[in-house]
Symmetry: C2
Subunit: 200 residues, 2 copies
DNA sequence: AAAAATACCGAGTGTTAACTCAGTTTTACT
DNA sequence: AGTAAAACTGAGTTAACACTCGGTATTTTT
């Protein structure tokens, strides 16, 4: 692994676990056995390093999600959303540090003054919410999902799932224990009145 | 207003808007026209000041919520939850800074090493989720809410609402635009199969 | 193999921020 | 009014941190 790569990895871990301000370039240097000067050689300054971490995070999350969705076939919109929800929860566990980074307030604060930061965050959320919205639209065509505003519905489903993941992040409650209940709640929110299914 | 009080207020604003590490005692001193020494006279150090802010936040949120709930009468459990949800969204706007503080990762990190910090956070979430749980239990008795695990259901409702509030916090989406949709979704999650109401 | 370009190093620098403390002002009490 | 206690002040101290820079090692090119 190149030094540049190991700096990025260590920065991802430390920025997410300790926070941006709480992580010093000396910390990163110590964790990687790469001299501090090298960090500045590759990333110019700490802020740009953070942006690189965020950009990498965006690439990884979007790629993971799109490759999951595209090579798959769903019976109907409802099934698509159920799958998207469970994949989101799976991914939040697999890419723990990246999701933790997104659950910190720092990136959103940086986004207020740094357009490139905001672009990365918006790209991630747009990608995720677009997938949910697509599922709603598909479900409304095939009759598995009731008529309701697609974008808003996607946002609500997303915030429900993300909120539960956050409980885990905050060490308040174990998200995986709520997995089934989340899926059931999604179905209830989306179900059409007549053909109401309750599976386990 | 006493100096101690104005320090607490300024600290609440700055810690929530800028972050803990990003706020210096000089910042607080500047905003209050109180000398830095005075901050240390009253709070001993920056960490203890933060804890005082958090304790105050806990007191205020719990008091607001309990006084809202206790002087009120609900037709059934469903109505109680609807009211709790809308009051939560109202309060998140009214006490913007305190909620922002709770939406930052810092307090949860501090909670890992500082039991008194964890106690404050748990007290807040316990209070809120207890209220939702109580609503579920009530609704299951009076028939307005379906049979489902009360605690888990309360957690899901809570994370849905809190997740939407967070969109606002992060400047990604305006929570108030989703208000009606949230209420409708809650009803759908909770409703009994037979007596399914859909109001506006 | 020599030269050029790239990657890397870590001691040094300037700044910032938490916290202290010796002294001053205000309040409380007799 | 006089005195003791509490509240307050801000210059000074110390440590940590982001970043620089002159020099060295490594890789690439010719």
């Amino acid at each position: 692994m190149t030094r540049k790569e190991s700096i990025l990895q260590a920065a991802t871990v430390l920025f997410s676990q300790k926070g941006y301000k709480e992580t010093s370039t000396a910390d990163i240097s110590g964790l990687t056995n790469v001299a501090e000067g090298t960090i500045y050689y590759h990333f110019h300054n700490k802020e740009k390093l953070f942006l690189s971490v965020l950009e990498r995070t965006r690439e990884m999350i979007i790629e993971e999600f799109e490759s999951y969705m595209e090579n798959r076939h769903f019976r109907d919109g409802m099934e698509m959303i159920e799958n998207a929800v469970s994949f989101y929860m799976y991914l939040a566990g697999k890419m723990e540090n990246q999701f933790l980074l997104l659950h910190r307030h720092y990136p959103y604060q940086m986004a207020l003054t740094l357009p490139s930061c905001r672009e990365n965050l918006e790209a991630i959320y747009d990608c995720l919410i677009d997938i949910f919205e697509e599922g709603v639209l598909m479900g409304q065509k095939d009759g598995s999902i009731a008529k309701m505003p697609p974008r808003k519905t996607a946002l609500i489903i997303f915030s429900m799932v993300d909120g539960v993941v956050r409980f885990k992040t905050y060490n308040l409650y174990d998200a995986s224990a709520l997995f089934n209940d989340i899926i059931v709640s999604c179905r209830k929110i989306l179900a059409t009145d007549h053909h109401y299914e309750e599976g386990a």
